[in-house]
């Protein structure tokens, strides 16, 4: 997984906004703040910045306690790749959420979808894939801050 993330990161650097033409499948993101404090949205690094630019509608800067935010992310990287990386700080912890889709090569010219999700630290942050569509690659995730 790490090698693939580095690959995506390098690809982000190569692909500019002006050259974007073919988007990967969208991911619908729900962020639930179940902590007693407000969760503040952060952007750290290229992937988080790119996610912010690719998010529609724009993520809220703050998610109040026991509230949630909803947005979609679609990357113009490639039709076979999409990812989102977001950071939220609440209750003394910064959650690092990541999710990705890659169309892996199958027999002949076929591909098969591969979705991933990750959250750190695991003690306060949970990431779950809620729904996947194998036909288009579109998927939904839920990120929870405790």
């Amino acid at each position: 997984m790490k090698a693939r993330v580095i690959g995506i990161s390098a690809f982000v650097a190569m692909m500019g906004f002006a050259s974007a033409a073919l988007a990967g499948p969208p991911v619908a993101i729900t962020v639930k703040n179940q902590s007693p404090d407000a969760a503040e949205y952060y952007r750290i690094g290229d992937q988080a910045e790119e996610t912010y630019q690719n998010a529609s509608p724009k993520p809220d800067d703050v998610i109040e306690s026991f509230d949630e935010d909803n947005y979609g992310v679609q990357s113009p990287l490639s039709p076979d790749v999409n990812y989102a990386r977001v950071y939220y700080s609440a209750n003394g912890t910064t959650c690092n959420f990541f999710t990705s889709y890659v169309a892996l090569p199958g027999p002949g010219s076929s591909t098969f979808p591969n979705w991933n999700v990750d959250a750190t630290p695991a003690s306060n942050c949970t990431a779950t894939i809620i729904d996947t569509d194998s036909l288009t690659g579109a998927w939904s995730v839920e990120f929870v801050i405790d």
């Binding site: 690959g7 974007a20 969208p26 509230d67 947005y71 113009p76 039709p79």
Partner: protein, 235 residues
């Protein structure tokens, strides 16, 4: 003092106002705000204390928006939001705040806002639940003292609820659109339309090229039918 609450006196709709309509609203507001007595009548419409405050807020917002660059307006929005949202909101101080007025309606409104915000919406009703989206923005970003911190927070919570309802539905519709067509043209257009209906201080908080990017995607993101590129990405 006679009070006839008519908070929608300056709003043509409860779901937001286009820029041209917003200019007309501000013109009406300027006339209404010039009167400081109790209930006044303009064009047969009885104006409440809340309506007069909103009128004054509209004038101040117009002056603020005209005097700042987009970047400065974004900074100002951030400063003002810190007063009533997130972990910079000073709950203890806000509870002690009493509006500088002897108007019983305004005193009651402030109390109602504090009850509502302190109970996280579980007790009482939001005194600004009937305002339009634009009017909620006026209340939120007015730190002149017309509204208490908890009143501004109540307006913010109402706006957040409405925006989340819209975001949830527009994202769900966008996913359905993509699964059916392989494109997100309507979804991106909905996001552009929403952005273009926002007041300047809300727009300033978006990426500068928010519309340009989505317009570009509408024009260029067509269903893909070529060979997979995964090998190039994984190297």
């Amino acid at each position: 003092m006679a009070i006839n609450i008519n908070p929608n006196a300056f709003s043509p709709s409860a779901t937001g106002t286009r820029p041209a309509e917003r200019a007309a609203v501000t013109s009406d507001a300027r006339a209404a705000a010039s009167t400081s007595s109790g209930t006044i009548v303009q064009d047969g419409v009885s104006l409440s204390a809340t309506s007069r405050q909103l009128a004054q807020s509209a004038i101040q917002a117009e002056q603020r928006d005209a005097s700042l660059t987009r970047s400065q307006l974004a900074d100002e929005a951030s400063r003002l939001r810190d007063q009533f949202s997130g972990n910079t909101y000073n709950e203890a101080a806000a509870v002690r705040e009493v509006p500088d007025t002897d108007d019983p309606a305004l005193l009651e409104r402030a109390k109602q806002a504090t009850d509502f915000t302190q109970s996280h919406g579980q007790r009482g009703t939001n005194p600004f639940a009937n305002l339009s989206d634009d009017q909620l923005t006026l209340v939120m970003y007015d730190d002149s003292g017309s509204y208490t911190t908890n009143e501004r927070r109540a307006a913010y919570l109402e706006q957040t609820d409405r925006r989340q309802d819209w975001k949830k539905s527009v994202v769900a519709a966008g996913m359905a659109e993509y699964k059916a067509t392989g494109q997100n043209d309507k979804f991106f257009q909905n996001c552009i339309d929403y952005y273009e209906g926002l007041p300047p201080i809300e727009q300033a908080q978006y990426p500068v090229d928010y519309v340009e990017r989505r317009q570009h995607w509408i024009e260029n993101n067509k269903p893909y039918s070529g060979a997979p590129t995964i090998n190039a990405i994984d190297r």
